[in-house]
Symmetry: C3
Subunit: 324 residues, 3 copies
Amino acid sequence: MIRRNIQLNEQGRLRHFLTIEGLKRQVLVDILDTAESLSGVTDQTVKKVPLLRGKTIVNLFFEASTRTRTTFELAAKRLSADVLNLNISASATKKGETLLDTLRNLEAMHCDMFVVRHADSGSAHFIANHVAPHISVVNAGDGSHAHPTQAMLDMFTIRRAKGDFYPLTVAIVGDIMHSRVARSQIHALTTLGVTEVRVIGPKTLMPKDVEALGVHVFHDLDEGLRDVDVVIMLRLQNERMQGELLPSEHEYFQLYGLTQERLERAKPDAIVMHPGPINRGVEIESGVADGPRSVILQQVTHGIAVRMAVMSMCLGSHAEGAAA
Amino acid sequence: MIRRNIQLNEQGRLRHFLTIEGLKRQVLVDILDTAESLSGVTDQTVKKVPLLRGKTIVNLFFEASTRTRTTFELAAKRLSADVLNLNISASATKKGETLLDTLRNLEAMHCDMFVVRHADSGSAHFIANHVAPHISVVNAGDGSHAHPTQAMLDMFTIRRAKGDFYPLTVAIVGDIMHSRVARSQIHALTTLGVTEVRVIGPKTLMPKDVEALGVHVFHDLDEGLRDVDVVIMLRLQNERMQGELLPSEHEYFQLYGLTQERLERAKPDAIVMHPGPINRGVEIESGVADGPRSVILQQVTHGIAVRMAVMSMCLGSHAEGAAA
Amino acid sequence: MIRRNIQLNEQGRLRHFLTIEGLKRQVLVDILDTAESLSGVTDQTVKKVPLLRGKTIVNLFFEASTRTRTTFELAAKRLSADVLNLNISASATKKGETLLDTLRNLEAMHCDMFVVRHADSGSAHFIANHVAPHISVVNAGDGSHAHPTQAMLDMFTIRRAKGDFYPLTVAIVGDIMHSRVARSQIHALTTLGVTEVRVIGPKTLMPKDVEALGVHVFHDLDEGLRDVDVVIMLRLQNERMQGELLPSEHEYFQLYGLTQERLERAKPDAIVMHPGPINRGVEIESGVADGPRSVILQQVTHGIAVRMAVMSMCLGSHAEGAAA
């Protein structure tokens, strides 16, 4: 018996978008192609298409993130959907309602999609496992598990800059252990067929079994950057700095901060990426972040198109199911 | 001299919706019929009708309630209105502006409707008494006084399940004294012509003059549930549990919690209702809340249609006045 | 070499709206005329025009102000724009992102306009100096520097009431020193050609060089009000009352509060204005605020039309640039 991927409907189309893991290459390519066709919308005078008119999308944020919420809200509005912003910690749960009751209620109000952000790994899957058949769930970051739309906008940015994924070498630098972004990027890069994925960071911030994901581990930045096509810097979470896992910000920058000089070790046309927000002078030098090889702001732009693609594909898969 | 009901315009149509008390049967039936005709909107692919396009509806919440605000916001958006969410405690009044000045300002901005939630009984009436002629006020809960849209969605749910109100026996169970929901339900049920309304709860949570409303009082749950067609459980407010009015949650459940066993005393086709959010294991057993006789989630669905009906009727009554 | 006013594009049209200072009379008259033509929108059944459909307007508030945010949000929605409300203190900057990085990100998301409110004088100019060419900035109040849309709605109200600016005498009463509103009003009134601008207030609240702006200074209210056509009362900020600049509220009212009796010194058809929210019994008597000469609520109404005018003119100037 084959257990179907919860993210796909019976026709194999995307219904939820929870994690890159387990998705076939073609699904990822479909997302990138759809995003490509939607990326023109933001260049029009009227930056709107009626694809999701009359649909209700709920930003279900159990963890505050204005930045991520904003990108999903903009993507939804440009698809003409109605958007509801719910900060859950501050409302229902205070009254003692369980998470499942909250979901049941939103379903009963005929909402169509939950964009979920949660501090706990696995929560988007939990919600997807419990929603009604007409609901789609998009993971907007769950604990240190996954942040798949971030990974896909990174893939979109790489494809735009490099044309294809083969034969690229990509380095991901920083706190790999706690990064949902890194985990999603690794799955996306290997599925899309890059030649090599390297992860670079201190031993204290490297997950033990990371090589099982098909990556090469480096603890020395200079060595890891040699001849790479793409450098992805991770954000150093401030809270990590207060623990025992890391020395001072200054020392971190000395060892793992990306400087112009270090970037010379990468290929001459290497691009530099970062999911934002940037800690200037901690994981990256301002000259690099704002320099000619940085595609950091393109990532932000592409994030809208990729989220529009994921939202319209997920909600389109229901229409298809209904027609079948 | 007959003093006209402030809720009706000169043609006897609904202008404000503040309380069920004093409204004739036909007005309530009109709301239910309009809600019935609007309930199909949420089943369409494009869940929107242009009835209130270009109208501005203000959620004027002096007391936080994400859940109630959400239902009104969704109802307004599905009528294509623009929605403004104002949490008043956190803004103007901090600057020392009086409530009436706030109202005058919103009127001057050509807002069309205030949806008012307030911790004080009578505040929706106070506001309705002071707004300009072009404004409608909808009470979204004022103190322990009234919550008329909640009562009407309950009536809608009963009519959907039972076809009519006669000859039903309906029991309302819990903290009758502090419940604006119960007060509004009692007025609606008696106006719509049910055979009998029973209120069931401990003496400490029963208003002294409640029988004057035409209900039968029971202090024993088993006795009160005998042969009823509809059981409406009220939410037990956590704050009541800390006072002297009630023993422990556990003891309350022993005496007044709805269990499968107790539900056997009601008619075999009795339905179970609850305004939400549910305190599982306090006023109701999970097996009953999620069981085949529960219509709790239908209530939530019907809440959108009923609020759409009330909003469009109130704002439609102005258009009529203007045409006259 | 002539340095072009940052507020104007190459064709001399309004691109940003940061301050009245430095704008020619014709630009101000254009704003008033555009607002006049848009003021009818709020009288229509469908209070919306599609002028800014598909545009994204960001309320970038570094200082909370529900009242001002609401007027801009309503104006934007009535122009059919999408609105994003960002309270910056509570989000990105907490994560350590710099202001410029926040701006770059919002630009990359293809936002079209930033409506900026900030406690520091000059911040709207700073932002306008650093945004991408496709972005317009509107100052919604920066420190004690400027509040130009407030000044223009005041001008609109004066022109509606008096027909023209010449030969009017206008008195501005209160805390001139800390008032961004007063500063913007003085520039607008002198540019539009009133006969005389008077500023009235205690010495402790009068800027030293105020006469350089072309105004006459009075410290006695009775004297200053003699024969004026327009009285503009300023709001007394509560925080000033706790310092050494002022005696008690009561004493302030005795000296500078506008009473019916004092208003007799002005012309018989003089109008009374106030930017709101009003401190009743502090800077103005209720009888005057609510009396026949008060145009305070008309100011609020006109505020929507003036903001619609400024927004559509600024965003229209890009279209023009693109066409050229």
